[in-house]
Symmetry: C2
């Protein structure tokens, strides 16, 4: 018994188009409707045929849905919620994939009945964007965090969880505020730092950009991957999860200052102690299937 029969995806970029493809592969009897605000993306989506129907308006996409998933930047959630409110069936569930949950919950419930809103966040992605970049296996073995509201329909929560399990994800429930704190450290801070260091390198006057690129295999290239992520999506994340990000950033800056001082004063023991404790975390991530066991992310060397 499938959790939903008629699924609508609004926003057909990397995540939205991956959901559509995964629904097609793993729940082929589901009717899948898509919409995107961009005419070019709608045209691409029609050509790629990962949806049964692509509508020209958000309202038209939801009229007979039993699940609507908003896959737009978190700053656009409120506007899309307002757009679909009048057309939404009374028994449909509205979920989303945004990287911040407290702000999205507020944005959605401002325009939609709280009982129908069940926010979620699949912790998966790549640095690529757009309807071409999606693929059906993106969520397999990754975690999807469901963050129900006090008013969310409990049966709906279980159906949303089951939907994500069908796409291959493992599901965890969490309060929206706690989600935002966890993701501030596992996702938002890493992106902010990666964007910063790539910008710093780009601004140097003593080292040319050509040198930065040539010798990037020393470690820098790893940071350029997440710094190639979608700028609108990430602008919205930092505006929406301000407090948790600023808290994590403050802790990071203090820790960095401590290492900076150790370097300045030649304190090798302090450096060694810091560097020797971080291998264990890598090992746990690999052991729990959250990264490739192969050296160098399994990059090809040939």
């Amino acid at each position: 018994m499938l959790p939903f029969a008629r699924v609508t995806v609004i926003g057909l970029g990397l995540i939205g188009s991956s959901i559509a493809r995964a629904v097609r592969d793993y729940m082929p009897s589901v009717r899948l409707t898509g919409h995107d605000a961009s005419p070019a993306v709608r045209e691409a989506a029609r050509a790629l045929r990962f949806a049964d129907d692509v509508t020209d308006t958000a309202g038209a996409a939801v009229t007979d849905a039993d699940l609507v998933i908003l896959c737009v930047p978190v700053g656009a959630m409120a506007a899309v919620a307002a757009e679909i409110a009048d057309e939404l069936p009374a028994d449909a569930i509205v979920s989303d994939v945004g990287s911040c949950k407290a702000s999205v919950a507020a944005a959605l419930t401002a325009h939609l009945p709280p009982a129908q809103v069940i926010p979620a966040h699949p912790v998966a992605g790549t640095e690529q964007s757009g309807p071409d970049a999606g693929f059906a296996t993106l969520f397999r073995g990754r975690w999807c965090i469901v963050t129900p509201l006090a008013d969310s329909d409990p049966t709906g929560v279980e159906r949303v969880a089951e939907f994500w399990r069908r796409l291959g994800a493992e599901v965890e429930q969490m309060a929206p505020d706690h989600h935002d704190l966890v993701l501030a450290v596992t996702s938002h801070l890493p992106h902010l730092i990666a964007y910063t260091i790539v910008g710093t390198a780009d601004d140097l006057e003593q080292v040319t950009e050509s040198e930065v690129i040539k010798f990037s295999a020393g470690g820098f290239r790893d940071f350029t991957r997440i710094a190639a992520s979608d700028p609108v999506m990430w602008r919205d994340v930092f505006l929406s999860n301000k407090d948790a990000v600023l808290d994590m950033l403050q802790r990071f800056s203090e820790d960095l200052s401590q290492l900076q001082r150790a370097i300045r004063w030649g304190d090798g023991d302090a450096l060694y102690d810091r560097f020797a404790r971080t291998r264990a975390i890598r090992r746990s991530i690999v052991d729990q299937g959250q990264d490739d066991a192969a050296a160098d992310f399994g990059r090809k060397h040939d």
Copy 2:
């Protein structure tokens, strides 16, 4: 005509054992001698058979070498140079693979004739360590930076460059000081930041380690790879390239403060402008063959 006929590798970890394996594959007629200060590593190296001979002392390893490559942490270079000085043939070249070049040049020339010293640095590696971790193709398509001294033998410089080309590397020459500035941004700063953020995450009290690991696919896991690198090697790098690292760190911190301020004051345009300029660098790195073109470093999604 091979650049060298009898090569000695001192230090048989990831880089040393990769050189040995690559010499065996690409210059099979070369006689390869190895040594490591650790009896356990010597035993492993003998079992792995990537060298014709593994000696118990550094001195015994160099007696008939025409190229000696020191593959030890940069803080150990001076001691190894002192150990081999008396046994080194007068026509042998001594090179190394250290990540800092000015300090290594000083360490080697303190004990060895400057004409025989030709420092180099292959910009390649993985997060793994030890004689088991090496592989012959590690240097293919990567850059090796040769940093000759004023007194280095010019013929020797060309022979060292040719040696690295035979292992599949592209070779660039640079002054040691400039090397140290370039690598401070493309390698040393990224490692310092990765070690820091992994430590910061490990210290949180509101977010559990189990949560950090589960939800690491949001970006954090990328940083754990280089933060799993060898702590002794990296301690020595930061002690040896202090000035350049502190300079880059200062610039990075200023740029991070600017973004922190933009987040605090809700300046979305400033965030967008920063985030929109970093994709081009990623594209250049991929275009120039310094990283995988596939999304997500080519990680498997299945």
